[in-house]
């Protein structure tokens, strides 16, 4: 079974960077890491391939400036190989542009299953999995908390507002995996060493057969007309508990007349 996992390399959320006021795109001169949201998809893919007894996990990712550090993390976890679409014209890509690029790279792999996170930790549009599926003419199940493969069918528990749905889906299919549903493995030392030599194919947008005008900032067909600090809440009353803080809470709730 061949599983392709979409992974995003993002600035460390602990140091999220800022928008460049000139270009209105994210400043990306920081080291990129594997988006934690995607580590669940990688782990799920590795487990499914293990369960199937044979097959491999291939990664697809896109960046403006051939960053690979996040990809290497996923390779160190156990993915076999990767496609990296690296092109400066990808800077400022929106969800649809991203999906167009990833879908092209995925199609070349002829996978049985495509996995992704439900949304990235930095852009969090949550539309890319459905867009990839539509571009590839595939069925999709988003927000999966459990996946099992039986023959040529994926059985998925899909998270809903109220609980979950059991969903059956013929393969090939696109499935997005919610965070926290599996425990992503830590790369072993052996894995980290092996990852250095795993094949990463680097492609430009034109090599994929796409027009650079349809991706990146140009392809997003959007204009940012304003960037402003969000209104800040007024500072509140902060007290140290001396054993009677609960009384202050009760009084506060009383003032609000909610008791």
């Amino acid at each position: 079974m061949k599983v392709v996992v979409c992974v995003k390399q993002i600035p460390d959320p602990a140091d999220p960077g800022e928008l460049d006021p000139e270009t209105k795109t994210l400043k990306r001169d920081v080291k990129l890491i594997l988006d934690e949201s995607d580590s669940y998809g990688v782990e799920m893919a590795l487990q499914l391939v293990d369960d199937a007894g044979d097959g491999e996990v291939h990664l697809v990712s896109m960046v403006p400036k051939n960053e690979v550090s996040g990809l290497r993390t996923a390779l160190a976890m156990g993915a076999a190989s990767a496609t990296l679409i690296s092109d400066e014209c990808l800077s400022g890509s929106d969800a649809l542009g991203t999906a167009k690029v990833l879908a092209k790279a995925i199609a070349a792999q002829e996978p049985d299953l495509v996995l992704s996170g439900t949304e990235s930790s930095d852009g969090y549009t949550g539309t890319v999995p459905a867009q990839i599926a539509e571009l590839l003419g595939l069925p999709s199940v988003t927000f999966a908390k459990e996946i099992s493969i039986e023959g040529s069918t994926a059985k998925v528990k899909r998270q809903t507002e109220a609980g979950y749905d059991d969903v059956e889906c013929p393969l090939p299919a696109v499935v997005s995996v919610t965070a926290g549903v599996v425990e992503p493995r830590y790369p072993s030392f052996k894995g980290i060493m092996a990852a250095k030599n795993k094949p990463v194919e680097e492609l430009t947008v034109e090599a994929l057969g796409l027009d650079p005008a349809n991706v990146g900032w140009a392809g997003s067909r959007q204009d940012i007309i304003d960037i402003a600090a969000a209104p800040v809440r007024e500072a509140g009353e902060i007290i140290e508990d001396e054993g009677d803080a609960h009384e202050r809470i009760v009084a506060f709730l009383d003032e609000l007349k909610v008791l």
């Binding site: 959320p13 928008l19 969800a95 649809l96 542009g97 999906a99 969090y124 549009t125 949550g126 539309t127 890319v128 999995p129 459905a130 867009q131 599926a133 539509e134 595939l138 069925p139 999709s140 199940v141 998925v156 998270q159 507002e161 109220a162 609980g163 979950y164 749905d165 969903v167 059956e168 013929p170 299919a173 919610t178 965070a179 926290g180 997003s220 067909r221 959007q222 204009d223 940012i224 007309i225 304003d226 402003a228 969000a230 809440r233 509140g236 009353e237 902060i238 007290i239 140290e240 508990d241 054993g243 803080a245 609960h246 202050r248 809470i249 009760v250 709730l253 609000l256 909610v258 008791l259």
Partner: protein, 323 residues
């Protein structure tokens, strides 16, 4: 001057229309002369409520026989546009929900139209719609507009607008034909399960009591449940403890969970990661209990208690029980 027409994707929640859909209707009605609704299921079940909230027409697919809404609704809308049955609207607005994102994603490909996501406000600038989206955990607001002539697709976050009944007449119900979906429509729901819940709904409760990693261990979450019960509140949780399996996802408040705006939000053992803050900082009053005086939650708290939740919470529960 407003826009001519806006389409809204509506979702059902049990027998009613989901709150997010009614919230979008309120905004759509404010900025456009005509608001039409697209949804799956039986339109007649919801025509009265949707009309009351300002929709004139409901295009409904009927029972999807287990198909997920994404492919079915997007294909039906696109087919209606292609065949000339529909005049294009100025915008198509959906909620940032599981199915809303599926429909928007699929439709954006079919129409080659970009999507503006995570919108918390919409305004008219001339005859263009401008969306406001929070970035960097809500510290910065970005305003975006489309530059293409495609249908403007917006995904709106829950609780961005207030639903409002305007006493409109029952909406007309029209069939929305779903074309053959081919392989793309292959996913089928075979069974549905709902979590057992007591008390008010998390996203509707006047008071929310939430716990985070600072509660220490799973068993300590019972204090959250106890306090919630006394206050008639809904219990909530951070993504960290949902991911750790302490409580189900339905408890989760934050970017990937529910957005809540209660009268009072009590954050107990919650440090205030941006992921969590975006889901609750619209609360009218925020009480935070955390032993780390540097915790970011205190920056949004109206009343902050620097202290051990294991000491403060039991006394608070006892004091309220004795009233």
């Amino acid at each position: 001057m407003g826009l001519d027409k806006i389409w809204v994707f509506a979702e059902a929640q049990g027998d009613s229309v989901a709150s997010i859909s009614l919230e979008i209707l309120a905004k759509a009605r404010e900025i456009a002369d005509t608001v039409e609704v697209f949804m799956s299921g039986d339109g007649d079940d919801h025509a009265e409520e949707l009309g009351d909230h300002g929709a004139t027409t409901v295009y409904a697919t009927g029972d999807l026989d287990g198909s997920l809404q994404g492919s079915a609704v997007a294909s039906a809308v696109a087919a209606g546009i292609d065949s000339g049955d529909f005049d294009l609207p100025d915008a198509f607005i959906l909620g940032t929900t599981q199915d809303g994102r599926d429909v928007a994603g699929r439709l954006s490909v079919k129409l080659d139209a970009p999507v503006i996501t995570n919108v918390v406000d919409l305004e008219l600038d001339g005859d263009a719609l401008v969306g406001t989206e929070p970035v960097f955990g809500g510290s910065t607001n970005v305003k975006t507009r489309f530059t293409s002539d495609k249908v403007a697709i917006f995904l709106v976050r829950p609780k961005s607008f207030e639903a409002e009944s305007v006493g409109g007449a029952e909406a007309d119900v029209e069939d929305l034909d779903v074309p053959d979906l081919g392989a793309a429509g292959g996913a089928k729901i075979t069974d549905s399960f709902a979590e057992e819940t007591e008390g008010p709904r998390l996203d509707e409760a006047a008071i929310v009591v939430s716990g985070g990693r600072g509660m220490g261990e799973k068993d300590a979450f019972s204090m959250i449940e106890d306090l919630a019960k006394i206050l008639g509140a809904a219990p909530g949780a951070t993504r960290a403890i949902v991911d750790s399996g302490w409580v189900p996802y339905s408890y989760q408040v934050g970017q990937t969970g529910k957005v809540v705006k209660p009268t009072v939000y009590i954050a107990s053992g919650i440090s205030g990661a941006t992921q969590h803050l975006v889901g609750m900082k619209g609360s009218k009053n925020i009480i935070a209990i955390n032993k780390d005086s540097e915790a970011p939650i205190f920056a949004v708290a109206d009343l902050g208690i620097i202290g051990d939740v294991h000491k403060v919470m039991p006394k608070l529960i006892e004091a309220l029980n004795n009233r």
